[in-house]
């Protein structure tokens, strides 16, 4: 079974900080072909030496017009990577950088697993809120988060 699973391709899309280490802990044992979509920082740069990583624009918090511009760039780059790689499954732990990959992936008929970041217990993250209606599997790390996302599955913290 493990052998056979090697045939599918997985896109792991998330921000470069805590979200990234959560995503790694969730997926490190998967034997499938994997590639990563994130933004550039020292940790992700280090990781990219041994793994296939695409760096895309981070729509960071800033002046509205500039943020809009960064978002548009992020969407174009996300689409470009998606069409080039054609993954079967997208796994995301969220934040703004990954939203475009998740939504465009769904539009192109890919499967989507979203894991709400462990920092959210009683409130919802913005990306979780956006992606919840689309996700094929939506996982939360804390029981109280099930109140916010009733269709979610409880998975326990990715420590």
């Amino acid at each position: 079974m493990g052998e056979e699973k090697g045939k599918i391709k997985i896109c792991i899309a998330c921000s470069g900080g805590g979200h990234f280490s959560e995503a790694l802990k969730a997926t490190e044992k998967l034997k499938c072909e994997k590639y990563y979509v994130t933004y550039y920082n020292s940790a992700t740069q280090e990781f990219s030496r041994k793994n296939r990583v695409y760096f895309i624009t981070h729509p960071r918090h800033c002046f509205f017009i500039l943020r809009l511009f960064l978002f548009i760039r992020n969407i174009i780059e996300s689409l470009f990577v998606l069409l080039k790689e054609k993954p079967d499954l997208i796994i995301s732990t969220g934040a703004d950088v990954a939203v475009a990959t998740c939504i465009s992936g769904k539009l192109f008929g890919k499967k989507l697993i979203y894991i709400e970041s462990g920092g959210y217990v009683t409130s919802k993250s913005v990306s979780g809120r956006i992606i919840y209606p689309f996700a094929d599997l939506f996982i939360v790390q804390w029981e109280p988060a099930l109140k916010n996302f009733p269709r979610a599955t409880y998975g326990g913290p990715l420590f």
């Binding site: 079974m1 056979e4 699973k5 599918i8 900080g17 805590g18 280490s21 959560e22 802990k25 969730a26 997926t27 490190e28 044992k29 998967l30 499938c32 918090h61 079967d88 499954l89 796994i91 499967k111 697993i113 894991i115 970041s117 462990g118 920092g119 959210y120 217990v121 009683t122 409130s123 094929d136 599997l137 996982i139 790390q141 804390w142 109280p144 599955t153 998975g155 326990g156 913290p157 990715l158 420590f159």
Partner: protein
């Protein structure tokens, strides 16, 4: 273990083996409130205090400190400590819980420009569940928290099934029928 002879000569034999480890994390915004707060109580604590101060611009006067270290070193500092005082970051929380350490969490606050995301939610949730985790949002409460947590009972037992959930999703969607 890694105790240098100098430490023994200072008459700090007992101190060298009891340690409070402080971590401000790697976020680019300085978290001076935590470092100052710990520095204030460092001589009252009666233990050696070692602080990872990150981008803090306040430099401690009464405790040992360094800015950053590798993940392995981080784990060995946590492991050596009798308690951890830290920003409420998911990484340090997970590591301290795995190593069964009492934990004082000081969330970075948006209103003080210390954070880009609110941190108190997880800290308050964990504090409500465990005697050995305290969340303080007023730094003046630090000394009391250290006293209170010192002999607390540690009862962490967390497991994640997320890798299994993903694995069975893949099997179900891509390899059944």
């Amino acid at each position: 273990m890694g105790t240098s002879p100098e430490e023994f000569s200072k008459g700090n034999v007992w101190r060298a083996f009891i340690l409070i480890f402080v971590s401000a994390g790697t976020q680019e915004k300085p978290f001076n409130r935590l470092i100052e707060g710990v520095d204030k109580i460092a001589d009252l604590a009666g233990e050696r205090v070692l602080a990872q101060i990150g981008y803090a611009t306040y430099l401690p006067k009464k405790c040992e400190y360094f800015r950053f270290c590798s993940r392995e070193e981080m784990l060995s500092h946590i492991n050596a400590a009798s308690m951890v005082i830290a920003q409420s970051g998911f990484g340090i929380i997970g590591d301290s819980i795995k190593l069964m350490k009492p934990l004082i969490l000081v969330p970075r606050e948006l209103r003080f420009g210390e954070a880009i995301d609110k941190q108190y939610e997880l800290a308050e949730y964990l504090a409500s569940r465990h005697e050995s985790i305290i969340c303080i949002r007023n730094i003046e409460l630090m000394a009391g928290a250290v006293r209170k947590i010192r002999n607390s009972h540690v009862d962490y037992n967390y497991k994640t099934v997320i890798p299994d959930l993903i694995d069975s999703f893949i099997t179900q969607v891509f390899y059944s029928g």
